[in-house]
Symmetry: C2
Subunit: 173 residues, 2 copies
């Protein structure tokens, strides 16, 4: 799939078929994610692959009962390894770069999923302390996004974007 | 260009030919950026297009004298509109979602640039207060990345990535 077409046609998918995703495809997704740029090439990302039904259910609860999470065959929880960014860049590393770096990795992952015929949704609204308990993350590894992934069972709706004229500013704001 | 190939072959470009970039291509880049997902579809992104040599020079100074910034024909400064995220999601919106949303937009922009034969570099290390002065941004609009863009004049080096085995965790961390 062409990259500009993939960027334009990707949508958040919240309803999945029961079909499993192959191990090979999961690795392709993580491989795409890790190609993202990162500050100083520090790569502060960690990926927890969750397939256990009970654990998916717990993540769903952590995410304020967004039940579609537990219905996906695979849930990838993307975490920021704050120590990696802190060592290189102090507080700016922890509060900015490691959030940006993991977000760029997530966007790659979403585009790769779309190219493979999969659908995914970037869930950011969840209680981090519950996700930490569920995943047993050490204190320096922060769960930053929950990404349920599967084959889409519904055609997603198109959502409007702000007009270019609103978001483009010439020379100054 | 295929999306997986684009993700894999994109590199940070820090040396540019003098050739200008067409207005049409700049709009394609911003169009790709705004297709990124965002929390609640809030789209907290703003893009300042800088072509004025003196202003590019000032951005270069803000970015701790990374002089290659001023040598790019176009510099896009990506900003986070914190008010948009705060209205929807309070502090989590300002400290997390609007950073993630703009970062996803930036990754789209970098991939689109690569697909158009352009090169770009995501510069995160800069003094925000200087960039704010240069761009005249209101207090709620935070400059979050400086992206010099142009036609690459050098073949970029390949940078290693952490092995999949290091970054993939099964079920728990």
């Amino acid at each position: 799939m062409d990259v500009l077409e993939a960027i334009e046609s990707r949508r958040s998918i919240r309803a999945f078929k029961r079909n499993d995703i192959s191990e090979k495809d999961v690795r392709k997704l993580i491989n795409a994610a890790r190609q993202a740029p990162s500050a100083g090439n520090i790569q502060p990302w960690e990926f927890v692959i969750v397939k256990d039904p009970e654990r998916k259910q717990q993540l769903s609860v952590a995410a304020l009962n967004q039940t579609f999470i537990s219905q996906a065959p695979v849930v990838i929880v993307v975490c920021a390894n704050e120590t990696r960014s802190k060592l290189g860049y102090g507080n700016r590393g922890v509060n900015l770069y490691c959030i940006q770096d993991t977000a760029a990795a997530i966007e790659n992952l979403l585009l790769a999923a779309h190219a493979l015929g999969l659908g995914a949704c970037w869930v950011g609204a969840f209680r981090e302390e519950i996700a930490r308990d569920v995943l047993n993350t050490p204190v320096h590894v922060r769960p930053i996004a929950i990404i349920p992934i599967g084959y889409p069972s519904k055609k997603p709706t198109i959502r409007a974007r702000r007009p270019l004229e609103d978001i483009i500013h010439q020379e100054t704001f």
